[in-house]
């Protein structure tokens, strides 16, 4: 097939999933249109204060990604737009978009806020979407401080001009940039793309529909997304937890789980994230205000992901969060105090009442209306819950070829799962469009770099930023002052440094005045430094001969009450910037060739999927398996979903892997040695034919996890005690199970040593129980459990089991079931928490859900790859939320059970994601090394090994001379080694000691400025 394929992709939805897919694709040679309904990208994650289980700040993680997307040369963000139609076929689609007017030209708007301040509405009076109605905004507003695109937007629904036509339109006059344009109209246009990724996300369940909780009627009943905004330092209360009714700090705060979820009147499925986010909110609330006493009312506590269990433990033990297993029947507001009386049935069935100051409803996720509309317009199917229909074996494929789906659009899930699916979808697209890679992207050409000769010739550009800086700081005086500083040959004022015309002007000045250093005094370097660096590079300067001084966010905006002192401060900051600039050195960035092959370690399901994804993208892949067969033991690996033909999947995978021209299968093979670094690994494989050395650019660790073999409950001592896997095998392959009374015990040997949830055992037990009942409906089946982890759509299966007569008995973690033999009869006793008494069962079969353990081979791999394992023997990811399949060491990726247990669709998505992330590196062909990296002065190094110990990235090695050296490709530029080196032998480019010290000297002692 040599049909035309487009090298561009449409990603619909600008939340974290859409952003991740966009970046992955844009970084691997595709042009991306990122289409967002709202005025800014960022999605739900931008509204979060913290994220579980690490309680990291959500904005800290997200904001750099927003900036990256905003600046990416291969990305076009299209906001306020929705999809109207999609025609064509995979590889060659035409997508039609409808874009609403913003009434603000984003290329001109600098987000100064003058239009907002001048609006005829003196007070913000319309509920802010971003603050979930708790904060207020005006008809013209900036969605949130870190928004991308960072520009104002007019809401025609509330703007007087649009409503009555009679408005003085102060905003038009106030804007110094002429950015406002009330003549804009709706636009309908089409784009050619090769594939589409849909990531429209979810909607929080509408709490008003759960009438008994009084949301919307009782002032002090909030939803969790609202509470999140209260916790946020940039939220409506600046991070203070206050009651809406009286603005007082609440003491007793209740969190109610499963609002709208696991309830046939609402949504039957479990929303998968509420248990954890409520736990997080309880902890964070407590951290904000120690007096708060949080209570969590829950049905089952589903702490099933990596690190979840320990968060709950911390909540209980360190923060005193109280957990009450209960069913809530009603909430009543006490009219005088506006306190809330919660009536609930506790574990033992008794009805209780308790008064709270504030109630937070942990609302579930529901499919978004946007998503449903998209599905209709694009003719893709939805499942019975109105989420996108996918299959177990293709978790990110929609029912229409060439259209992929990710994130909460496919079902309730958390951020890491969303990010994994996003990378998986991007990988699938990259494979589909492999022949078109690079056809729509352009590499920018720069002139040859001038070598700066001798003395510094510095140019200083002092920005007015309209009146944002100039309204407070005497910018003329600052520029005049700059002229007097040593090394400065040019200084001037600019109205807007970042404007296109000024950028051109800057280049002219650099050439005319032969500048060899540039200082820009304007806004924060976090947003625009890259733009200015690029500009000076276009003028032939090394981009590191640049320093940016922040006189807006960190001067004029915070000292507007003291203009004179702000001016003095701006001068000091410029003086420091110039001092640093005098010491700046050009830094070189070298291109290192990437070996265009991949090494996949582990030939199970995950390894095969990863290998195929890479191979389909056009990269040679070595698939290494230590045993004699690929995906040897079907049963060992994972819970096999009901009714799915896993045998068929295995056969198909084996066939394609074996015959794929880009895959080399090495069975009976282990890795003897791995050296090198991202882009250039060199490994020795030891197989039946002896040793072989291969060169590869990336490594994917795809070992699987296995069923744990227990030591207790008579396992191994009595043939009537089986594991779930063994039962599963007996059910499919025989011999026929004859038992009538069956006891299943969950979480066997889950203890301090194996504290994690294995994610799959509950589903497996339920599935086996249903299969047993299908064979013989007269069986008695008991499941003894601590928590039933039937998250997401598995909840339906759990309900079916209960309805079919499976008896679920809850017991405490402290009172584990006991299994013993009395005259050949097996007797199981357990203390039932609901009945509050011991229950005795005499089963003829006991089935143990033992969980999974990582492959012991991980230990050897961890040593070879020099990447760490956690206490349980799983590999540690680079970032639990946003880089779930990356290792901290660049070029190494994780999937399968090597990283965490998972279900088949989860493992497949993870394998595709890891392959996609790896393919980004391979598709580049070249990697840049150098720039802001550390280097060791060999003369000064005393080989004390401090740097080797402290480097978090394993970038330091000891060279042949026995001295420390730093691998530039691996160095991330943190500078830890430089600061720790006792011999001062290490310097970090752009942050050299001399540069920092000069700044300090000049800060308070301007008179010393000419001293050497």
């Amino acid at each position: 097939m040599s049909e035309l394929k487009h090298g561009a992709v449409a990603v619909v939805g600008g939340g974290i999933g859409g952003i991740q897919a966009t970046l992955d694709l844009a970084d691997s040679g595709f042009y991306v249109y990122l289409i967002e309904e709202g005025p800014a990208i960022g999605g739900r994650m931008a509204q979060l204060d913290k994220t579980f289980p690490t309680n990291d700040c959500a904005m800290c993680m997200l904001s750099p990604k927003l900036v990256e997307v905003g600046r990416h040369p291969n990305v076009q963000i299209i906001t306020l737009a929705s999809v109207e139609a999609l025609e064509g076929q995979p590889g060659n689609f035409r997508i039609t978009l409808r874009q609403r007017p913003r009434y603000v030209d984003i290329t001109r708007c600098i987000a100064c806020g003058r239009c907002i301040a001048s609006c005829v509405y003196q007070d913000a009076k319309f509920p802010s979407e971003f603050d979930v109605g708790l904060g207020k905004r005006k008809p013209i507003y900036i969605p949130f401080p870190q928004a991308v695109p960072l520009a104002a937007v007019v809401d025609p629904q509330t703007c007087i001009f649009f409503k009555s036509g009679r408005c003085p339109q102060n905003c038009l006059q106030a804007c110094e940039r002429g950015a406002l344009d009330f003549t804009q109209t709706e636009r309908l246009f089409s784009l050619d793309v090769g594939a589409v990724i849909l990531a429209p996300g979810f909607e929080p369940y509408d709490a008003r529909l759960v009438g008994e909780y009084g949301f919307g009627r009782y002032a002090n009943v909030l939803t969790a997304p609202q509470f999140e905004r209260l916790l946020s330092a940039s939220g409506p209360t600046m991070g203070k937890v206050l009651r809406p009714s009286d603005g007082k700090a609440p003491k007793k705060v209740a969190f109610i789980h499963c609002v709208g979820s696991r309830d046939l009147r609402h949504q039957s499925y479990c929303s998968a994230v509420c248990c954890m986010y409520a736990t997080k909110e309880a902890i964070v609330a407590k951290e904000h205000d120690h007096a708060i006493e949080p209570t969590i009312f829950y049905i089952d506590l589903r702490a099933y992901g990596k690190g979840f269990e320990s968060l709950v433990k911390r909540a209980r033990e360190e923060h005193g969060v109280r957990y009450v297993r209960s069913m809530i029947s009603q909430i009543i507001e006490i009219p005088e105090t506006k306190n809330l009386l919660i009536r609930y049935r506790d574990d033992s069935g008794s009805v209780r009442e308790e008064e709270f100051d504030l109630v937070v409803l942990a609302v579930g996720m529901r499919p978004s209306t946007k998503g449903q509309e998209l599905a209709r317009k694009l003719s893709i199917e939805l499942n019975q819950h109105s989420f996108a229909q996918t299959s177990v074996f293709s978790p990110v494929m929609s029912t229409r070829e060439g259209v992929f789906v990710t994130g909460a659009f496919t079902g309730p899930k958390d951020i890491p799962e969303t990010v994994i699916q996003a990378s998986a979808a991007a990988a699938a697209v990259a494979a589909l469009l492999a022949p078109a890679r690079g056809t729509r992207t352009q590499a920018k050409q720069y002139p040859e770099e001038l070598v700066p000769d001798g003395s510094p010739r510095i140019g200083v550009f002092v920005c007015h930023c309209g009146s944002n800086i100039a309204g407070v700081v005497d910018v003329k005086a600052v520029a005049e002052y700059a002229k007097t500083l040593p090394g400065v040959v040019h200084a001037e004022n600019v109205l807007y440094t970042c404007s296109q015309d000024n950028l051109k002007h800057m280049k002219d000045v650099i050439r005319e005045k032969k500048l060899n250093r540039v200082v820009v005094a304007s806004c924060t370097p976090r947003n625009l430094a890259a733009l200015f660096q690029d500009t000076i590079r276009e003028a032939g300067l090394n981009k590191f001969l640049f320093e940016m001084v922040n006189i807006r966010e960190q001067c004029s905006w915070v000292h507007s009450d003291q203009p004179e002192r702000a001016t003095e401060k701006a001068k000091s900051l410029v003086r420091m910037g110039v001092a640093k600039a005098r010491e700046l050195k050009p830094l070189s960035v070298q291109s290192v060739r990437v070996a265009p092959a991949a090494l996949v370690l582990g030939g199970g399901l995950s390894g095969m999927v990863a290998a195929l994804t890479l191979a389909d993208s056009g990269f040679e892949t070595h698939l290494v398996e230590k045993s004699s067969e690929l995906w040897r033991d079907l049963q060992e690996l994972v819970c096999i979903p009901e009714g799915e033909d896993v045998q068929g999947l295995r056969a198909k995978l084996l066939r394609t892997v074996r015959t794929h021209p880009q895959i080399r299968v090495h069975t009976n093979t282990t890795v003897k040695e791995i050296s090198g670094f991202v882009g250039n690994f060199s490994s020795v494989l030891r197989g039946p034919q002896g040793e072989e050395r291969i060169q590869h650019g990336v490594v994917i660790v795809a070992t699987e996890a296995y069923e744990h073999k227990p030591n207790e409950y008579l396992y191994g001592a009595d043939a009537r005690v089986l594991t779930q896997r063994e039962l599963g095998r007996a059910l499919t392959e025989g011999p026929r199970v004859r038992a009538k009374t069956i006891v299943m015990i969950q979480c066997v040997e889950r203890n301090e040593k194996r504290p994690y949830c294995s994610r799959i055992c509950c589903a497996e037990a339920i599935k086996n129980a249903l299969a047993l009942l299908q064979q013989d409906p007269n069986r008695q089946i008991y499941v003894l459990y601590r928590e039933m982890i039937s998250y997401s759509f598995l909840e339906d299966l759990y309900r079916r089991a209960r309805d079919s007569g499976v008896i679920f008995i809850h017991h405490d973690e402290q009172s584990l079931p006991v299994v013993r033999k009395e005259n050949e009869q097996i007797v199981v006793t357990v203390r039932d928490t609901r009945l509050r008494q011991e229950v005795l069962i005499k089963p003829d079969l006991v089935v143990l859900s033992t969980g999974v353990v990582p492959d012991p081979y991980n230990e050897e791999l961890s040593r070879l790859l020099k990447v760490p394992l956690d206490a349980q023997g799983f590999f540690v990811e680079a970032h639990i939320k946003l880089r779930p399949v990356d290792c901290t060491s660049h070029g190494i990726f994780l999937c399968g059970g090597s990283h965490a247990p998972g279900t088949i669709p989860e493992l497949i998505a993870k394998a595709q994601a890891a392959a996609g992330r790896a393919a980004i590196i391979l598709s580049k062909g070249q990697l840049e090394a150098g720039g802001i990296v550390a280097s060791v002065d060999q003369e000064k190094c005393t080989a004390c090994l401090t740097c080797l110990r402290e480097c978090p990235f394993g970038a330091v090695f000891i060279n042949e001379q026995g001295l420390a050296e730093i691998e530039a490709v691996k160095c991330q530029g943190c500078g830890i080694c430089a600061a720790d080196c006792p011999a001062k032998a290490i310097q970090l480019g752009q942050f050299e000691d001399i540069q920092e010290l000069r700044m300090l000297e000049e800060l308070f002692h301007p008179e010393r400025m000419s001293a050497v």
């Binding site: 700040c57 976090r526 530029g973 308070f1004």
Partner: protein, 142 residues
């Protein structure tokens, strides 16, 4: 310059503390102008020498601000920095500089208000200390 406010240097990591300082600006919060920010890629880059140099150059106080614990973009930079700050505090005490003039803070990029508050609090704290950085030592070194 004729103002009596203490001179403070704030070493901020690029990812969180510096971003928080930016947010303080975006929210138009106020803090004393004598707080000057120096951007580091990570507080892990903070050489103990810089702190000493700041005091030598005339600073009355030094703020070191990095990401929340567990939130450092380079994994362990803020933990290293915290250790170094502690060590320098000990050193300061020995050479007669009140260790309270140096403080380490963890903040997230969303905590603009916290940054402004730290700037104000450190200013107040240092004002309340004796006016000169060096309380006279009996003999010799300073």
């Amino acid at each position: 310059m004729t103002n009596s406010e203490p001179k403070i240097v704030a070493f901020c990591c690029h990812y969180c503390a510096f971003a928080a300082a930016d947010l303080a600006g975006v929210l138009r919060l106020k803090y004393p102008p004598n707080v000057h920010i120096i951007r580091l890629p990570c507080t892990g880059k903070l050489d103990t020498l810089y702190i000493l140099k700041a005091f030598e150059a005339g600073a009355d106080g030094v703020i070191v601000a990095g990401c929340l614990e567990g939130g450092c973009h380079f994994i362990s930079g803020n933990l290293r920095a915290k250790k170094r700050v502690l060590a320098v505090k000990g050193l300061l005490a020995r050479i007669g500089i009140a260790p309270e003039r140096l403080e380490f803070f963890n903040l997230s990029s969303a905590q603009g208000d916290r940054f402004a508050q730290i700037a104000r609090e450190m200013t107040e704290r240092i004002k309340s200390l004796s006016s000169s950085v060096l309380t006279p030592l009996p003999e010799g070194k300073g």
